[in-house]
Symmetry: C2
Subunit: 205 residues, 2 copies
């Protein structure tokens, strides 16, 4: 089978793994930004996940003329007026790490009662080809910010994001379990349905 | 002189006063939402100040067929990833007051060093007539979140917004002083220039 070259335009290792696993059975040759040279750089300036996903997608597809997927995602905490939001990965500053970001959130949420700890993870996907974004998907999942870290799977804020239906944090879920319920998993499910139809229609033309 | 009827579509008393004062010398008969019956209600759902200002402006101008000005504004704190942002006036929940909002911000910023207390006030204006937004203006002013309240003028977060060039919080500035440097004052200055030309061109047609 001829595989279509497909640029997965993200440098986040956690996201690359989740997205590659999810799309593994499609006829795609997935290329990531690390495999390209020179590595183009896109500065995220959007006020929303959609703006960032769309902006990155258009930028990288223009650089490489490939079918390009980008994702922007993050955590929105109600008590913090939606923060960290688009700043999720750099919430603790220019040298942010998952660990430092989590510490900052737990400090800000110190003493905040359980009923005020509502949050949601949001994932926005944008798929672009030939200078046009042909599909945008936004999905979210609701949870509660825990009082401390729990679990060793996943990445980002997963250890402090408690998912009530499964009574576990996202970091306590096996990758396949997380994919079934997570914001990114839900968005990728829709993307996969779209890609199947798209690749089918490409074959015909 | 015939005054043009002009809807100032906000219910915030602090804003009404500042905007009315600023536009007092223009040939406008300024009507506020309180003077209209039934009072229409617009729920702000935008992710940005622009979206909210534009949305409100279109909505209210359709309800009343008047030249309509709306404003959305708020405080963006760098350490909080831009929060409270569009949630500024309801940051402390459904029964938010200026007092409660300020207390929440000071609590979240407790122990944060001076160099990490950067913030900006943002004001977005939208002017609409006959279903079209004819002018949008966005202005901002940079400051520092103080450790405690200072000053009795102004409203909102003014008592904890320190403005370095004048070495005072916005609540320590007299109304005219604040208007000269504030986000809203800067936006209103540009609006006034636009309105003068607009009213002039209307006279001719």
């Amino acid at each position: 089978m001829i595989k279509k070259k497909f640029l997965l335009a993200t440098t986040n290792q956690g996201k690359i793994k989740e997205i590659k696993d999810y799309l593994a059975d499609l006829p795609l040759e997935i290329v990531s930004l690390q495999q390209l040279s020179p590595k183009p750089i896109f500065i995220e300036k959007g006020k929303t996940f959609q703006e960032n996903a769309r902006g990155k997608s258009l930028y990288y597809s223009q650089q490489h003329s490939l079918l390009t997927l980008t994702e922007d995602s993050g955590l929105e905490i109600e008590y913090l007026g939606g923060a960290p939001g688009v700043f999720s990965s750099r919430f603790s500053g220019p040298r942010a790490t998952d660990e430092k970001n989590i510490r900052k959130v737990l400090k800000l949420m110190k003493g905040v009662p359980p009923d005020k700890r509502k949050a949601q993870f949001v994932s926005c996907l944008a798929l672009t080809t030939e200078g046009k974004t042909i599909k945008e998907i936004k999905e979210s999942v609701k949870g509660i910010i825990t009082l401390e870290k729990k679990g060793n799977y996943g990445f980002g804020y997963d250890p402090i994001f408690f998912y009530p239906p499964l009574k576990k944090t996202f970091a306590e879920l096996l990758p396949a379990e997380k994919n079934r319920v997570s914001h990114r998993g839900r968005a990728l499910k829709k993307l996969k349905e779209f890609l199947l139809l798209y690749l089918e229609s490409e074959k015909k033309t």
